[in-house]
């Protein structure tokens, strides 16, 4: 039985909802997104994720006319039994105030109809901001969003602030993967069992970290860190690196099977793992034997196939 | 010293040895003694020599010195191939023969090999297999 997760993707028209969805789920590359027209009404996309989970993506058109009737006539149809709301803000939008008000009404509608839905806000198109001003701008926007979501949530009393997390994102770098990985992380069933199994597996291999990626999107769904690493953004960077390479393989008419990169200080193995995942193993030794690692990966595959199917 | 005869004496001196044959470095048979249970057909012998010849270049690439002896123990028989001067002495024995003595036999074969060198040196040029097949992508020779 495949479990269905309803995911609402909302935000002002032109804020980049459809582009990001196409990149994450439909193997688009950033450059092709300029050709995507505005979304009419609601575009539904059923995305198979982790094999038997289906994300039912509601990409809601952002033009005012559509927003109006989402909040009026189609209110319960849109906001009923929603698991996740992803609200996208265009950082460069001229009428940020208005966007926030729309966001507030959507949030109110959501909390009435799906009280325990999880809410993520993306401050998108950050690449249009000068590098050195990006953090400052993001902090300012994030504060506004949190303020408005409090306005929406407090009257209903249960959740002082509905927003789980705010992210800055751009389709031109790895921040998109960070945002979507965090979103998806909440949807993955039994992720904790997976993570401590990964830790045990990492121990046998004497690895510094073991990361599990969803096969199609290459979003990080579970990871075990056995020794600290200074770059907190490395997971989404790896997602972005491998996803780009996967796409160039597709362009070449072939599919990626495994990658092995090493120098004197480390060896990284990226291998197809279970039916729906890739695994990455990082060992802090440039001379580690590849056949040994591949053999242990094959051995572990059975264990993780079992976890994945046990819904 | 009659080579044929001393080979036979040597063969009988060790338990389990059923045949010894001598070839040049290209596998051409020079002489053999004993009634090999399985060696009567030349196909087996040819295959054995061929396999051995293919191992020589690989062995030289190991860079652990020239080939002296290859010993192979199968379920039903044992083979020792000694390189001496320009010859390969192939000792074929049953499973009951003592591996150690088959290897130690090399010292005893030296005299025979020297005798043969004086009597009928092999005609296949210097008969030395190229130490190793020009290893792939060796820098083209016009480098100093």
């Amino acid at each position: 039985m495949s479990s269905k997760r309803k995911v609402l993707l909302m935000g002002k028209s032109g804020s980049g909802k459809t582009s990001m969805r196409s990149i994450i789920f439909a193997n688009y590359i950033a450059r092709d997104c300029s050709r995507l027209g505005p979304t009419i009404e609601v575009e539904h996309a059923h995305v198979r994720f982790l094999g038997n989970m289906v994300l039912h993506l509601w990409d809601c058109g952002g033009q005012e006319s559509f927003m109006e009737n989402f909040l009026m006539s189609q209110k319960d149809q849109i906001f009923k039994n929603v698991q996740v709301l992803i609200y996208v803000f265009d950082v460069e939008s001229r009428e940020f105030e208005k966007d926030l008000r729309y966001y507030q009404s959507c949030l109110e509608a959501l909390l009435q109809n799906s009280p325990n839905a999880q809410v993520f806000c993306l401050i998108h198109k950050m690449d249009l901001i000068e590098e050195d001003k990006r953090d400052e701008t993001f902090k300012k926007r994030e504060a506004d969003v949190l303020r408005y979501s409090e306005l929406a949530a407090t009257p209903l009393g249960e959740r002082s602030n509905a927003v789980c997390q705010c992210f800055k994102s751009s389709i031109w770098d790895e921040t998109l993967y960070k945002a979507w990985s965090a979103i998806v992380y909440h949807l993955v069933p039994n992720v904790n069992t997976m993570e401590d199994k990964l830790a045990k597996f990492g121990n046998v291999l004497e690895a510094t970290e073991v990361i599990l990626f969803e096969r199609a999107t290459f979003l990080v769904i579970a990871h075990a860190v056995l020794s600290p690493h200074k770059d907190p953004h490395r997971f989404e960077k790896v997602s972005n690196i491998i996803k780009q390479f996967k796409l160039s393989c597709l362009k070449m008419g072939s599919k990626l099977d495994s990658i092995q990169v090493r120098n004197s200080r480390f060896t990284a193995f990226i291998d197809t793992f279970t039916q729906n995942t890739y695994v990455m193993i990082v060992v802090p030794d440039g001379k580690v034997s590849a056949p040994m690692i591949t053999m242990n990966v094959k051995n572990a595959r059975k264990v993780f196939e079992a976890i994945e199917t046990k819904q | 010293m009659n080579v044929q005869q001393s080979l036979e004496e040597l063969m009988l001196a060790y338990e389990g040895i059923c045949a010894i044959f001598i070839t040049d470095h290209d596998g051409g048979l020079i002489l053999n003694v004993g009634l090999p249970a399985t060696l009567d057909n030349s196909k087996f012998r040819q295959q054995l020599i061929l396999s051995h010849l293919t191992t020589i270049p690989q062995i030289h690439k190991l860079k652990m010195g020239g080939h002296k002896t290859t010993f192979a123990m199968y379920e039903s028989q044992q083979i020792a191939i000694h390189s001496l001067c320009k010859y390969y002495f192939i000792v074929h024995a049953g499973p009951n023969a003592n591996a150690g003595s088959m290897l130690a036999m090399r010292e005893k074969l030296v005299a025979i090999a020297n005798q043969m060198m004086s009597v009928c040196p092999p005609i296949d040029g210097d008969a030395m297999m190229p130490t190793s097949i020009a290893s792939a992508a060796a820098p083209p020779d016009f480098f100093d």
Binding site: S289, K298 | S51, G65, T70, M73, Y74
Partner: protein
């Protein structure tokens, strides 16, 4: 699962009195582990591939090859099958006592038989 460090410790134990290197590799020459003196000219994964091709050449004659010994000018190599699919080889000085070298080879291969067998269906 086979822990690389555990395998390396085990292989390392034979490297005493005359024996100075041991490999574990499959018949295609894919090296699982090498412990011993670093050969300057020929890397251990290259020597593993060479030894594998010598074994497969000798095996072609009759595939019930059990063990083989290469006596070379500078050193001697003894190698044998482990769990039908892997090859174990040990290298010794040219004047090391051959009986002792073979004894070490046999004890190491019997020791490794079980662990390798248990994961052999995953072997590459």
């Amino acid at each position: 699962m086979l822990k690389q460090k555990a395998l390396i410790d085990v292989l390392g134990q034979v490297n005493t009195s005359g024996v100075d290197g041991s490999w574990l590799f499959n018949k295609d020459g894919l090296l699982l582990a090498y412990v011993g003196s670093e050969q300057k000219e020929v890397a251990s994964n290259v020597s593993a591939a060479l030894l594998a091709s010598v074994w497969t050449a000798l095996e072609r004659r009759a595939c019930d090859l059990r063990e083989s010994i290469l006596v070379l000018e500078d050193s001697t190599i003894a190698f044998t099958l482990v769990a039908r699919t892997m090859l174990l080889a040990v290298k010794a000085h040219k004047n090391a006592d051959l009986g002792m070298v073979r004894a070490k080879l046999h004890s190491l291969s019997t020791y490794l038989e079980q662990p390798i067998l248990s994961i052999s269906h995953d072997l590459i």
